[in-house]
């Protein structure tokens, strides 16, 4: 069923009795050509592209709980491609370009709002690092602007422009194509489009082990029984280490809780996404009016999807340092997702150390913006058995060769 304004009116007149399920609830088959573990935006995108681009016939997505319920539904919905290194820029900008066409491609409004992502500089040194980054991005083909404090003042009046602020604003840089998108809609849009192409989306199906033929993985053990697979892919942010353990290897990943929170909704007061280089805090205002904000990781590894109070207080203090007038607002909701963080804060996309399994993991705090490209490259790997040009630098092998893709190290940008 195609979605459109006309369809809404037609269904409205008919009392909304004619809508079909956004995605089917399928009969689980015992075997598939390709099985994707993880029904987040990455996994659903991978399944969609496996069918759509690679014409793989029988594709399933196995989701332990409900689709889009992991980090897809817990992030602060920021999309951007303002990356320093050419390999990162290529990856994230491809993702952003997919985002730019996604509502129409999926026939589902993901509410991409390219309202700009502004990174603040708080010292001359920050400005110099930003100049380095901006030039790198321009050479990478990413359109960004270095802004003076005066220019920023015209765009975001609510910021703390006091000269004696703890973190005075010296300037910043803006990617205008960056912004936010509705996170749930990305998962649901991919799910609906994939389901329409015949992908089986199985909720409530937990992978508990792997089927093997010799050294090769040939499927998965699940809470609903064994399922054989021609090829298996995993996209399980927050559980990559656990799945790797089941498959018999370890990853250069540590899992942490990453908090996010929203204020009570207020009338529009902040039109761009703002990030502070000094504190790592980021904030935007949702269409509903809530200020959505977060900062760094909790201080110790955790698989609990909750954040602790001391870090929450730091996040709030950091936000208020940038926007002092927001002190009178109230916190509505605070939560956390479990993020799988690699040593270089870049993802791992590529073959696993065991045959028959491909990984798309380790996106750390930045997975949402990479959802389309994560799915795209995982689908490519699963269909072709080899890297897409975009994913090759993100192979697990970089940790042995030493060729890490460390954005924060290279550019000093808060991740």
């Amino acid at each position: 069923m195609r979605y459109s304004a006309v369809q809404l009116i037609r269904q409205g007149l008919a009392g909304h009795t004619g809508w079909s399920p956004a995605w089917r609830t399928p009969e689980l088959a015992r075997g598939y050509d390709a099985v994707v573990i993880g029904g987040g935006a990455h996994g659903l995108a991978a399944a969609y592209y496996l069918r759509k681009i690679h014409k793989v016939k029988r594709v399933a997505v196995l989701e332990r709980s409900w689709i889009g319920g992991g980090n897809t539904g817990r992030n602060t919905t920021i999309v951007r491609s303002n990356y320093f290194f050419p390999e990162s820029a290529a990856l994230y900008d491809f993702s952003l370009r997919l985002y730019e066409g996604l509502s129409e491609e999926l026939n589902y409004n993901i509410m991409l709002s390219q309202r700009g992502v502004l990174n603040l500089a708080h010292s001359e040194h920050d400005m110099e690092l930003m100049c380095r980054s901006v030039n790198a991005m321009l050479l990478n083909g990413i359109d960004v602007e270095l802004l003076s404090a005066a220019q920023i003042r015209r765009e975001v009046q609510t910021l703390n422009f006091e000269r004696d602020a703890r973190y005075p604003i010296f300037g910043g840089f803006m990617q205008r194509r960056g912004g936010v998108a509705r996170h749930d809609a990305v998962a649901w849009g991919y799910a609906r489009a994939a389901s329409d192409l015949g992908v089986d989306i199985v909720q409530g199906c937990e992978v508990t082990g792997f089927l093997r033929d010799g050294d090769r993985i040939t499927g998965v053990e699940t809470s609903l029984g064994p399922i054989s697979a021609g090829v298996t892919g995993m996209s399980v942010a927050g559980h990559s280490g656990v799945l790797a353990g089941l498959a018999g290897f370890r990853l250069p990943i540590t899992s942490y809780a990453l908090q996010a929170m929203v204020s009570e909704p207020i009338k529009p007061i902040l039109n761009t996404v703002v990030m502070s280089t000094a504190t790592g805090m980021y904030v935007s205002q949702s269409d509903k009016g809530e200020l959505v904000f977060g900062q760094g990781l909790d201080l110790y590894p955790s698989y609990a999807q909750r954040g602790n109070l001391p870090v929450a207080q730091t996040i709030v203090a950091s936000m208020l340092e940038m926007f002092p007038s927001f002190r009178r607002l109230k916190l509505l909701r605070q939560w956390a997702g479990v993020v799988d963080v690699c040593w270089d804060y870049s993802p791992i996309i590529g073959p696993a150390p065991v045959d028959g399994l491909f990984m798309n993991c380790g996106w750390g705090t930045g997975g949402f913006k990479g959802s389309p490209v994560g799915g795209w490259t995982l689908a490519h790997l699963m269909a072709k058995g080899d890297h897409h040009v975009l994913s090759r630098p993100f192979d697990l092998g970089r940790f042995t060769s030493g060729r890490l893709v460390d954005e924060a190290a290279g550019a000093g940008i808060a991740h």
């Binding site: 409004n109 009570e264 207080q313 950091s318 009178r328 042995t400």
Partner: protein
């Protein structure tokens, strides 16, 4: 205009009127009123508009669960754009306004949206606006949002507090009080927090242990630390409960909201229950209220919210409301969905009861003028039994225990069919549940379960063998035998609009749509329909919505489950969460011993790595570039004075000091002679350069390290970690003495003249370059090191920090010209000295800096050594530290400019400029940078790229001045 104040009753003080305004109109309430009760007493009915359809909304509840009465409230300098009127205590001069409705909340042109409601069901925005979202979004954003936040500064002060107690009781109702009373009897420390200004027993009536409940309540908390107006909003790990204390009356300058972090050995949760409404057609009109709220407005505030009240209920508790209304003179009609209400009917003689009935419709402009009562199985709106004139419909669909904190603590919930509610199941922390939270439904059973919980909490703390003190269970009169609640989730009339979530306009039909479209998981339901995402977080709507979904999908409610309970329980002040961490206290800066001296010289003070340091010392009407050039030139031609006190000083002592440091540093330090210094690099285990600095050997078993100012703490932590976890048997210890010393560098051709006037027993004539000696300076213990960051002959004088200002003034008086960090940066750039974090980044290896000599000479397996032999570390095309000379000697490229070359018609980065300056010594622009394969490119010309502007430069050695170092050794 139906609500009115009764002439007696309630906890308000009729002798103390309180003036306030609503929509600019002057009204009056009494001390003890909430804003909501004062509005109701003044007959105010419509207080807001719903989020989506802009339908009129009235006050619905009396407590934290209120979904509708979100108002803009100003008192003095305090402004709350989203105040919940039920929680706001009325204050003289308070100005309250509706946050929605144009031109007014009563007449809102956007109500036209309600006419289109059938075309904008749940999630309609996912199905349209593609393409074109960017055109619609701004208008939709403008329509959304609640209040309008001011962008002026908020003058209030906030603070945070910590408390440790034996027993924390959350909730000041009967159960909480009984628990606190029982616990404190065991001589343990007990804290009780409650979100209300006064506890419910103060107004609910009743008799406990033979005395009025209000008096018993006073007795019960003797010896208990009570915090009222304090909402426990988060139950965290290790029995830590976060509490927000509202202090609306705090005078200016004193703490307003206050955040408490309470660590309790045992927690008693007596968080009560919130009434949930029955759902029926057009149940969103102003005048539909929770039955318990109607009761509370009457009992606590002396406000009769309506003269003619229809009560629709499925349980006994609403009959108490009915009895109170009848006693206050209201006309009451009851629709009870149960076939027979049973004994409780005896409480409401004088009220007409319609059994097996519900409200199947309401009517009236701006509120309610009648309710249609019909059978519970009505499928058409014309199946009414009676049309009853009324101005209030009070609704009671049972009680939803406030399991939020219990669930946050890791406790599991279970659906209880009898209570028709999620109740606490197995807990995970040291906690006890009591009262309505645990399913108790009358005063006697609340007291009993509270008493038990309090005793159990105390018992868990008691030493084995010690006996509990004797204490009787508080007793109250038992309620009449209850007739069980009958679950009833909505009226089966097709097409009728029945609201679940009033703020977000979510209806039963929306849940039906979600079910049909496979958004059947409770989390999908919430996210797709926005049910429970309003600022009340679904306190009155979630269970109804879940029940509807469970019914539609053929599941039990327990099987369908509930969404996650996240902090905060109710919205809490952001200002108080930050507390004192604001402004200069957010991350305090360190100041130099001679801070005042720098300020007296009008130094431009900036932050460098957590220290406030002089960037430069501008003279009158001098711009920064000119100042920097002047200071740099002074150092080269005369003598400069630099405050290096923030430079780290870590003393390392012990018989194994030399061996240990040799395992840490990239350079050989064990063969350093006492009295000598060496420039060294410190690596991470990954091979990356963490820091540079100078190591001094003071004695055989004693070293002094000088890490960069911003890295001192990190270097100390690294040494401790390696010592304690990898080489614990080595005898060595570390001590950060940075703050103990003031250190000033004097340098330049005239340094000898200056130091000649410094009284010291240290022989400067015999002190070699890279030497250090101890002695006295101006009569106090001191050290002098001969080391240079400028390329000029330079001496660092260190004295105890307290003498720093005096020594600074003395050196200044001898004619040394002060120079700041920015000027130093030019001087060191001329010499090609790196600045960590400026010229290096998180990818730089020592070899990239051209320092491979130490590696070849050194045998020890120092930190990071193995990582220097990975394939990537050995690549020939790594970025290397070089100099660049712009073709135009007058042009200083910005730091961050890239060097680039064309590859296949595309400009590709070769690296970047890390430092640039106009060099006074060479009279031209100079740059340092990290360039791919840079050392092999020396002599080559490259193009420079800065935001579209292209120029050219030649790659060269990074040393621009005195390459032989004659000035240092002379």
């Amino acid at each position: 205009m139906t609500g009115r104040r009764l002439s007696e009753g309630g906890l308000i003080d009729r002798a103390r009127p309180v003036g306030f305004t609503w929509q600019g109109r002057s009204l009056s309430g009494y001390a003890g009123d909430s804003l909501a009760s004062a509005l109701l007493a003044n007959g105010v009915r419509v207080v807001g508009r719903s989020f989506k359809y802009h339908r009129p909304r009235g006050i619905f509840a009396a407590g934290v669960e209120e979904p509708n009465a979100i108002l803009d409230v100003t008192v003095g300098a305090t402004h709350d754009p989203n105040a919940r009127a039920t929680l706001v205590e009325l204050r003289e001069g308070m100005a309250a306004r509706a946050i929605s409705g144009w031109p007014s909340v009563g007449v809102d042109v956007f109500q036209a949206l309600d006419l289109l409601h059938r075309f904008i069901p749940a999630g309609f925005y996912y199905k349209t606006f593609m393409p074109g979202w960017e055109r619609f979004e701004p208008a939709i954003r403008q329509m959304a949002g609640l209040g309008t936040a001011r962008i002026t500064p908020d003058p209030r002060r906030f603070e945070t507090r910590h408390a440790e107690v034996d027993v924390l009781v959350v909730g000041g109702g009967a159960a909480g009080l009984a628990a606190a009373r029982a616990a404190v009897a065991s001589n343990v420390s007990v804290m009780l927090v409650d979100e209300n200004p006064v506890g419910p027993l103060q107004w609910s009536g009743g008799v406990i242990d033979g005395m009025p409940a209000a008096d018993w309540a006073e007795e019960a908390v003797k010896g208990v630390a009570v915090l009222s107006r304090a909402t426990a909003f988060a139950y965290q790990d290790h029995n830590t409960v976060a509490v927000m204390e509202r202090r609306a009356d705090a005078a200016e300058g004193w703490a307003a909201d206050r955040l408490w972090s309470v660590k309790a050995r045992q927690v008693v949760l007596a968080t009560g229950a919130i009434e949930r409404p029955l759902v029926f057609p057009l149940n969103d009109r102003p005048g539909v209220m929770l039955a318990s709220a109607v009761h509370r407005y009457l009992a606590q505030y002396g406000v009769l919210v309506g003269a003619e009240v229809v009560i629709v209920a499925n349980n006994d508790t609403a009959y108490g409301t009915a009895a109170a209304l009848l006693a206050a003179g209201a006309k009451v009609t009851i629709a009870d969905v149960r076939p027979d209400p049973g004994p409780v009917a005896a409480l409401v003689a004088g009220a007409r009861i319609y059994p097996a009935s519900t409200v199947i419709g309401t009517g009236g402009p701006f509120g309610i003028i009648y309710a249609d009562i019909g059978p519970v199985d009505a499928t058409r709106s014309d199946q009414l039994t009676a049309r009853v004139p009324c101005d209030i419909v009070a609704t009671s669909g049972g009680w939803t225990p406030s399991v939020h904190l219990f669930s946050q603590s890791g406790g599991k919930l279970r659906w209880d069919d009898g209570a028709s509610a999620f109740l606490p199941g197995a807990g995970r922390q040291s906690q006890h549940v009591a009262g309505a939270l645990a399913g108790a439904n009358d005063l006697a059973s609340c007291l009993m379960s509270g008493h038990e919980a309090g005793r159990n909490a105390a018992a868990a703390l008691r030493e084995a063998g010690k006996r509990a003190p004797r204490l009787t269970v508080p007793r109250a009169e038992a309620a009449p035998v209850a007739t069980p609640l009958r679950p009833y989730w909505f009226v089966p009339i097709a097409g009728a609009r029945q609201w679940l979530d009033f703020q977000n306009d979510v209806t039963v039909a929306d849940v039906g749509l979600a079910a049909a479209e496979n958004f059947q998981s409770v989390e999908h339901l919430k996210r797709y329909t926005t049910l429970g995402m309003a600022t009340d977080q679904g306190k009155t709507s979630n269970v109804n919505g879940l029940a509807v979904m469970a019914g539609l999908t053929g599941r039990g409610i327990g099987e369908a489950g509930t969404t996650t309970f996240r902090p905060p329980y109710a919205p809490v002040s952001l200002g108080a969460l930050a507390g004192q961490r604001h402004g200069s206290l957010y991350a305090p800066l360190r100041q130099l011993p001679a801070h005042a001296e720098h300020r007296a010289l009008f130094a431009e003070m900036r932050e460098y790595g957590g220290w406030e340091r002089p960037a430069f010392y501008p003279q009158f009407r001098e711009d920064p570039p000119r100042t920097i050039a002047r200071e740099a030139a002074m150092v080269r031609t005369e003598a400069g004075l630099f405050d290096g006190s923030s430079l780290g000083k870590i003393e390392v002592q012990g018989p194994d000091a030399a061996a240990f440091l040799n395992l840490m540093y990239y350079n050989e330090v064990a063969n350093l002679k006492p009295g000598r210094l060496r420039y060294v690099l410190l690596l991470r285990e990954s091979g990356i350069v963490l820091d540079d600095g100078v190591v001094a050997r003071l004695a055989e078993d004693r070293y002094l390290l000088s890490p960069s100012s911003s890295h001192t703490a990190g270097v100390l932590a690294m040494l401790e970690q390696w010592h304690q976890t990898e080489y614990p048997a080595m005898q060595v210890s570390f001590h950060d003495v940075t703050a103990a010393w003031a250190t000033f560098a004097v340098c330049g051709p005239r340094v000898g003249d200056i130091l000649a006037k410094v009284e010291t027993d240290i022989s400067l004539a015999t002190l070699p370059h890279m030497g250090i000696a101890s002695g006295t300076i101006m009569g106090v213990p001191g050290r002098i090191a001969r080391v240079s960051f400028t390329g000029e002959r330079s001496y660092e004088l260190s004295v105890p920090a307290g003498y720093g200002p005096a020594l600074w003034r003395h050196l200044l008086a001898q004619g040394a010209a002060p120079y700041g960090i920015e000027s130093l940066s030019v001087l060191r750039a001329e010499k090609g000295y790196i600045l960590i974090g400026t010229d290096t980044d998180g990818l730089t290896l020592p070899e990239d800096l051209g320092m491979s000599g130490p590696l070849r000479a050194k045998k020890v397996d120092f930190v990071g050594r193995r990582s220097l032999a990975t394939p990537d570390a050995l690549r020939a095309d790594r970025r290397q530290f070089v100099g660049l000379l712009p073709d135009d000697p007058g042009f200083v490229p910005a730091v961050g400019t890239h060097a680039a070359m064309m590859v296949d018609g595309v400009r590709r980065s070769l690296g970047w400029i890390t430092t640039s300056a106009h060099s006074p010594a060479t009279g031209r622009s100079i740059c340092l940078g990290m360039i791919e394969g840079g050392r092999a490119r020396i002599g080559q010309s490259v193009s420079l790229f800065d935001r579209g502007r292209v120029s050219r430069a030649t790659i060269c050695s990074p040393v621009f001045h005195d390459a032989a170092g004659d000035k240092l050794h002379g």
